[in-house]
């Protein structure tokens, strides 16, 4: 039987020399790189309220994007915990761009960056307030009674709540990496939160600082995300395109808004600790959430290697809604890869587009 490791001193010396070269060159290259840009599709603000802005992606971006041919517009509801430009990150990694190219009229809610004056924004304000009014704005602009709604991650949970409250305004519901069962055994984040006194947490911190949120996410896989990822960066330092992609992702990961305290408190208590979206008993602004009222077609997309929203957390949607037209799309990738990987660009937007076109 051979030993598991066969290192030779001269080979190790060469490896270290190579690493040193890459490290020095990398530090130099990184410093010299211009700031990366993100968000490629042209868009216009069509409505705003407080720090929230509703955008409509326009069709002026490039000659390849035609005018919207689909009558029913699509509104994207992103999570509160990161910035929504992830859906339109860069030219070759943009769900929005693909949907525009397929003839869809795409709108997006940008929640902005809450500051301490937004501490008392609750889920009622977000769901019965902002989302409802944005949906109404889009309905009026497009003169349609109901629109297509695409909720992503936490935004998906909000979209489920919204749709169960105002089903007449939603033509098709699409959820992407959306947790429904918040207490699956593999959900590490949920596991940690269960014994946390969220009242004391919010009463002390007010808004939840973005840095604390980021730290929490990083400590889900600390060795990979805090160390190995950056050691691995040396491998792509001589590839400017890859490097720019890496930096763009870094920008997105750490460009996080603080979380409005009251909304966070309610979300943790009712969704994570109470698991009420699955079990029942959830109320938003005193209005009962009954997912059985979701009877329109539903497309549920989730990622098989998602460590933030495990697949089973998303799959639970099927069991709580009233729709008979339910479709699942299982993507081979992780929580972030589902927006930005090459495979995602090939698989996800075309699937969403085809599914919606089939249900005009």
């Amino acid at each position: 039987m051979l030993g598991p490791i066969r290192l030779q001193p001269d080979q190790v010396a060469q490896e270290l020399a190579k690493f040193g070269e890459k490290l020095a060159r990398g530090a130099q290259t990184l410093r010299a790189l211009p700031e990366v840009h993100y968000g490629v599709s042209a868009k216009e603000a069509v409505y705003s309220e407080d720090k929230m802005v509703l955008y409509r992606f326009t069709s002026e971006h490039g000659a390849s994007v035609p005018r919207a041919t689909e009558k029913i517009p699509l509104l994207i509801v992103y999570a509160l915990v990161n910035r929504p430009y992830m859906v339109d990150l860069q030219d070759d990694r943009s769900i929005v761009k693909s949907l525009l190219a397929a003839g869809h009229d795409v709108y997006l809610i940008d929640w902005g960056y809450p500051d301490p004056s937004d501490r008392y924004l609750g889920l009622d304000d977000y769901i019965n307030g902002y989302i409802r009014r944005c949906v109404n704005v889009v309905r009026k602009r497009c003169a349609v009674p109901a629109i297509n709604l695409l909720g992503i991650c936490q935004g998906g949970a909000f979209s489920i709540c919204y749709t169960s409250l105002y089903p007449e305004t939603v033509h098709n519901l699409i959820t992407m990496v959306t947790p429904v069962d918040f207490q699956t055994p593999d959900n590490m984040l949920s596991h940690w939160i269960q014994e946390m006194d969220v009242d004391a947490f919010i009463d002390t911190l007010g808004n939840v600082p973005a840095e604390l949120m980021n730290w929490c996410y990083l400590t889900l896989k600390p060795f990979r995300l805090l160390q190995q990822k950056y050691v691995g960066l040396t491998d792509i330092l001589d590839n400017p395109v890859e490097l720019e992609n890496f930096l763009r992702m870094e920008k997105w990961i750490f460009d996080s808004p603080d979380q409005a305290g009251e909304a966070f408190r309610q979300f943790i208590k009712d969704f994570y600790q109470g698991n009420k979206l699955l079990k029942g008993g959830l109320q938003i602004g005193g209005k009962k959430i009954d997912p059985k009222r979701i009877t329109m077609p539903v497309l549920n997309i989730f990622a098989e290697q998602d460590h933030l929203v495990p697949p089973n957390a998303s799959r639970a949607l099927k069991g709580i809604i009233g729709s008979r037209d339910y479709t699942e799309l299982s993507f081979k990738g992780g929580h972030i890869g589902i927006y930005v990987s090459g495979r995602a660009q090939r698989e996800v937007p075309p699937a969403i587009s085809a599914w919606m076109k089939h249900r005009r």
């Binding site: 030993g3 290192l7 001193p9 490896e15 270290l16 690493f19 593999d186 590490m188 190995q228």
Partner: protein, 399 residues
């Protein structure tokens, strides 16, 4: 490796490598980085100077994280090469490798738990968590914990009674937080120990022919895999959940008490406090909600008035056609004032009022001002319009 870069060729044994590994690294780096800052006695101390020169204002978070991760990797290399050099060569068996990894991490990681080291080493401004709060601050109560606890439970009295009580509460909270942190660290230590069991299993798989690891990076990646597997197992345990929850809760308790104390002090100097601001923000949010509610009501009134207008118009036109003369209408209408006609008239008035409101809302403020109540034939409607305009103005003021 580029053609320019050449590793020192004299390194044929592990002892030489351990003495010169930094030179090997610099050999590769020198074409990009001036050698200034090299510290032969402790090369890792010079890491920042060699690779992080020209940082300062030009530096950004990505470079910081990149160099931080690389430095930890190199620390790992240093520990490993020291152990290999001390043994005079690389081990052959899995058990020996496992022992070597443990030794390179320190005496059972008590003072050098790689898990905690990882968290503390990268706790920059962009990544500061619960673990770093008050990190590095000594716990004065450690030396005489039992005595301190009983002192903190003693009754307080006299002129400064309240102040003493608050100090006791803060002292107790601080000690409880330290205990929670110790329990959390114990969980991290558990993960560290488990990671070596996981590593042994992974190394055993690599004994099969053709699966041997032949580079430092491959060994490092395997070590990371083992560490992540162990951490995940511990982090999903009931003990960790309890330790984590306790750490958060006790830290919040201590922060609350500290914040309250800071508030008391700053309030004495006339500074605005968090409580005061919270109160303002809460009122502001209530006002926002009420404003949105009013806007919703206006919108609903608009949408209900519109269809009503459509139904009223043909009715009045039809009435004009149906009633040929005033006399006839009087004859018919006057004596028969049934409940139904009363309701109908009230409904007509309401609808007219709603239409007037709708018109008033759409009229620009300047145009609305020019309407003089009482002089117009539609004075009642104008009054209603003015009322709704005034409500609009109130809304605008709120906004």
């Amino acid at each position: 490796m580029s053609a320019k870069t050449k590793a020192p060729e004299s390194i044929q044994d592990w002892q030489a490598l351990h003495q010169q590994w930094w030179s090997s690294l610099l050999e590769g780096a020198k074409q990009y980085t001036p050698p200034a800052g090299f510290n032969a006695a402790d090369p890792l101390k010079g890491f920042g100077e060699v690779f992080g020169h020209q940082q300062g204002g030009q530096n950004n978070a990505a470079v910081e994280r990149f160099l931080g991760g690389s430095k930890q990797f190199l620390e790992w290399v240093q520990g490993l090469s020291a152990q290999i050099a001390a043994r005079g060569g690389i081990p052959g068996k899995v058990d020996d490798w496992s022992a070597l990894f443990k030794q390179s991490a320190g005496p059972m990681f008590e003072g050098n738990n790689p898990f905690l080291h990882l968290f503390q080493g990268l706790g920059s401004d962009g990544a500061r968590g619960l673990e770093q709060f008050m990190a590095g601050m000594p716990n004065p109560a450690d030396a005489f914990k039992g005595e301190m606890k009983s002192m903190l439970a003693m009754p307080v009295f006299g002129h400064t009674r309240e102040q003493q009580e608050r100090a006791q509460q803060l002292g107790t909270a601080y000690m409880e937080y330290q205990e929670a942190m110790a329990a959390y660290n114990a969980q991290m230590l558990r993960a560290s120990k488990l990671s070596y069991e996981k590593l042994e299993l992974k190394l055993a798989e690599r004994e099969e022919p053709g699966r041997q690891l032949v580079s430092l990076r491959a060994v490092y990646d395997l070590w990371i895999d083992a560490a992540e597997d162990a951490y995940a197992e511990v982090a999903l345990s009931a003990e960790f959940r309890s330790a984590y929850g306790n750490l958060v809760n006790r830290q919040m308790r201590m922060r609350q008490l500290m914040q309250a104390e800071v508030e008391r002090q700053t309030a004495q100097f006339g500074m605005p406090t968090r409580t005061e601001l919270n109160s303002v923000h809460q009122r502001m949010q209530d006002m926002r909600r009420r404003m949105r509610e009013l806007e919703d009501r206006f919108e609903t009134a608009d949408s209900t008035a519109a269809p009503a207008a459509r139904t009223v118009a043909p009715t009045s036109a039809a009435r004009r056609k149906a009633v040929p003369s005033k006399q006839k209408r009087k004859v018919v209408a006057l004596p028969v004032k049934t409940a139904a006609t009363k309701v109908a008239k009230k409904t007509q008035k309401k609808v007219a009022k709603k239409i007037a409101m709708k018109v008033a809302i759409k009229v620009k403020p300047a145009a609305t001002k020019s309407v003089k109540p009482g002089k117009s034939r539609t004075s009642k409607s104008s009054n209603s319009a003015n009322k709704s305009t005034s409500a609009r103005r109130q809304l605008n003021r709120l906004a």
